[in-house]
């Protein structure tokens, strides 16, 4: 009796979890997009361009993502996300440093795409201690 109840209940729990996960990802997408637009508007109004650039690396996606995780999931998961983000942050510094000379040699779209190699390399190296810790 109890085993048949569990058999009925588990798929329902799994589908409930899947719906919850999809909902969380959709909310993260909407919140991330909205916050990026807010920072972009602020950045457009700022001058000089070098000062506005501070906001091109603003933690818009992180603030939105971590807030959704805290509200919809657990603080522990947000804490784990933040630890992983340290590696991505190191990659972001490398990306910005790499894209400046690349912009002298290529169009922005090409330079921005090529500089991703720097982000991936540095984030991957920094991710080793972060993921193993």
């Amino acid at each position: 009796m109890s085993s048949s109840l569990i058999a009925c209940w588990q798929p329902r729990k799994r589908s409930h979890n899947a719906v919850h996960d999809v909902l969380i990802i959709v909310i993260k997408g909407l919140a991330g997009g909205a916050l990026v637009v807010a920072f972009a508007l602020l950045s457009e109004g700022l001058g000089p361009k070098r000062f506005a650039g501070l906001f091109s690396a603003a933690p818009a996606v992180a603030i939105a993502g971590l807030s959704v995780v805290v509200l919809g999931e657990t603080t522990h998961k947000a804490h784990e996300n933040a630890i992983g983000m340290i590696a991505g942050g190191c990659g972001m510094v490398a990306y910005a440093a790499a894209v400046v000379p690349l912009l002298r040699r290529a169009r922005a779209a090409g330079a921005a795409a090529l500089a991703l190699v720097a982000w991936i390399a540095v984030a991957a190296i920094a991710a080793v201690p972060v993921l193993l810790a």
């Binding site: 997009g33 457009e44 361009k49 690396a57 972001m92 400046v100």
Partner: protein
């Protein structure tokens, strides 16, 4: 379209300012691109979190999709000199982003989550603005 690289003197004489009129002139299409860049990065980080765990997903919270979109749009509207200037600012912004992550990692779980995120955001802003002032602005004001 000026391709002249700003000189050191040009850079040091510029005082940070906010022009609300420029915000009103932002094209809707540019905002849509940026919304999509932010939304796709957020969804990607969420999917990686689901598949590989929250630490792996967290790496993508600092994915440079927004900077890449901004550089492309700046070059299109202005020139590559301005795009390079934006990227130079983003180097300091990137350091501040990493500090945001460190502060969030240290405080989430030990402090109230709202306070922890607010502290991380203030740390980001403080490092970004003081980094800019220390490197490029303060010197131009005579020190």
């Amino acid at each position: 379209m000026s391709e002249r690289e700003p000189t050191i003197a040009d850079r040091l004489s510029e005082t940070p300012h906010l022009e609300l009129g420029k915000i009103a002139k932002v094209r809707r299409r540019d905002l849509v691109y940026r919304f999509l860049a932010g939304a796709i990065t957020s969804v990607g980080a969420g999917v990686v979190t689901l598949v590989f765990g929250p630490r792996a997903g967290g790496i993508f919270l600092a994915f440079p999709a927004i900077l890449a979109a901004s550089l492309t749009l700046i070059e299109e509207q202005e020139d590559s000199v301005e795009a390079r200037e934006d990227a130079r600012g983003a180097m300091v912004g990137g350091v501040a982003l990493a500090v945001f992550a460190v502060v969030a990692a240290l405080t989430l779980g030990s402090l109230n989550a709202a306070i922890a995120l607010a502290l991380a955001a203030f740390a980001w802003l403080g490092v970004a603005v003081s980094g800019y002032a220390g490197l490029w602005w303060r010197k131009g004001r005579g020190s």
